[in-house]
Amino acid sequence: MQEGSVQEAHVHAPPGGFLRKYVFSLDHKVIGKQYYALALVAVFTGMILSWLMRIHMVWPNAKIPLLELFSKNGAPGGVMTPEYYLSLLTMHGTLMVFFVLTNAPFAAFGNYFLPIQIGAEDMAFPRFNMMSFWTTFVAWVVLMLAFFIPDGPPIAGWTEYAPLSAVGKDAGPGMQWGASLWGISIAIFCVASLLGALNFIATTLDLRAKGMTLMRMPLCTWAWFITSCIALLAFAVLFPACILLILDRHAGTSFFIPGGLVISDRLQPHSGGSPLLWQHLFWFFGHPEVYIAILPSMGIVSHILVNSMRKPLLSARVVIYSMMSIGFLSYMVWGHHMFVSGMNPMSSLAFSFPTLTITIPATVLTLIWLGSLYGSNLQINSASLFALGFISMFVAGGVSGFFLAQPSIDIYLHATYFVVGHFHLVMGVASLFGVFAGTYFWFPKMTGRMMSEPLGKLHFWITFVGAYCIFMPFHYLGLIGNVRRYQSFVDDFMAPYIGWHKFVTIAALITGAGQLVFLYNLIYSRFKGRPAPENPWNATSLEWSIPSPPPWNNFGGKHPIVYHDPYQYGVKGSKGDFVMQDSPEHVVAASGD
């Protein structure tokens, strides 16, 4: 009986053939880039959807000719129908949460850099990894199909509450095959994510190089590892929920549909189901999901900040424990999405305490980031600008959570624009800032070329100022009781505030246009960017010890040995004010006296 050694188990021959090299690659780096590309397509789609929504909201009778070409039912004469607004809203949320915020910070960067940062040649299960990506891709195709069926995409929001989502076509347009495609797509996505999470966990536990103890892993690796633990549990619960929903829709079961419902003048042939059951199952997944969206960016930002500051964080260990606490607590708070849902009001109080408590590790992280900046030697570049912007956005989005965590305040603010402002800032924008920071930081390593710094800075300023202009007003609008998920405002109550919505729409269009700067930078630099050295940022973690771009087997067949944690900055190293993780040189503290 032969024992396999780690190298033997995971060595795969250098890829040959176009399909194996670029399409069905087993190489985690290619897979990471594939996830990134998918996220890029999804984010631009989601962004365009938001433009359409915002334009329609403030100019409900606006004619958008291209839209009619795309969907005659949805926009007859180019004017968006109310139901199509809800379709776009549903697809915007679904694309952004699943295919952007789970894909980009976690699957894309994690796949590319986790193995390298722990000194491994590839992920533990390269075949599963390839399957994860292509399964995700299939999920995306199934979802996008909803745009092209006559009835259109579903109108129940990315949360697809039952019984609206469960009864089928009586519930409204898009709720026949549109909603079914949604359910199938997300179920497939769950399987893909579970496979991915499994890979990350096994890789992190078992494929670390010599000397790479858990505590010596970079903070972004820690974040990916914790995120994959969260994802494993969360998607394992969403999958059954989707199965039960599909059965209610197509097999006549009544998991989520009670009896006696009259919809479209038809008494529905179901009984006994519980709409709240869907909400519990969905949010048991849904809340950890938002931490899946933000944790990797926290790790990426921490990692980049240290490099930019030329000085370690006050304590990497505390950052790791904080991220772990956030992961743990994330499973205890889901009911805060359901304070006024009709569940037992005692439960609401119970959920509010862990929700408020999760502020503690989040505050610890923020204070450590801020405190570490003190006395640092902060280098400003596109990556560090986005990392600093992340801190600003995370705080801005996080403090509105203080309000929503309290059930009594939530009575007033639930389902208003206050909530929309909160989650966009803290999840959408902050998480994307982490992705942007990671892109500017790691692009040289991934492509062997530098991105344009001036364009990067331009992108930062447009996005930073623009995002505040878009999402800060949402909080004010929520305070006066502006209800969400309305296609436009038809009542006098909102009339005095339409001006603010117009401001937001214009800001959204400009900020969106600014993202084209990023896209251009990405594409131009890929082909014409200045060639990048192996370690353009004088960074310490293992990815900077290999060529840019890395060879197919990362370390060229060698086995790296790790001697330090990855945050040896501000020291007297042979190459400068840093010592790389795989450098056996003793760390000499630059003497302070």
Binding site: M1, G4, S5, V6, A9, H10, A124, A197, N199, I201, A202, T203, L205, D206, L207, K210, G211, M212, T213, L232, A236, V237, A241, L247, A251, G252, T253, S254, F255, G259, S271, G272, G273, S274, L276, L277, H280, K311, P312, L314, S315, G375, I561, Y563, H564, D565, Y567, Q568, G570, V571, K572, G573, G576, D577, P584, H586, V587, A589, S591, G592
Partner: protein
Amino acid sequence: MSSSIAAPISSQANALPPNEAAARVTPSARRTSSSGIWVGVFAITMSFAAFTSALFVREGTADWSHLVLPPILYVNTLFLLASSGTLEIARRNLRAGAGMPKAGAWVALTLLLGLGFCAGQYRAWLDLREQGIYLATHPNSSFFYVLTSMHALHVLAGLLALAYLAYRLAIKQCVIRRTIFDNTAVYWHFMAVLWIYLLLLCRMKL
């Protein structure tokens, strides 16, 4: 080097002289795939926990009925438990030389028993159908069909792994990595444990 700090913040605790650093444990392929299978088992457990909680929520409603479990389920249980036994016997035969095809035969027997289980499950569904009890007849039957079919799907995956194992051992008679056998065994035994749980759940609650 011009910039300096008063004391190196985190390096003291972690910097080791080179020879000590290199002496840390080297991971092995066995641990990787083993981690993988246990993580997978954990995820599947969570999914069935979600189904269980759905059952508990649904249980309280007025249309909750009662389902008499088809007796063949107990026969199927015996088949599944026996298949775990045969797999363990196969393990004992796993040694180079004559042991390989013997082990392969026992694995093939495991596979057959597993197929027997699946056939028996199908028979159970047919039994219910003959009584006019379908997926949507009442919530109890809904849960029964969902739980048993979800379990059966996972068993099918296990059957594929067993088939591959039997083929490698009995027909190609080549040496396999110990880990492949171990992981398949973990998964297969988990299918039995999960089934016992589901059977008890259905019996007590449905």
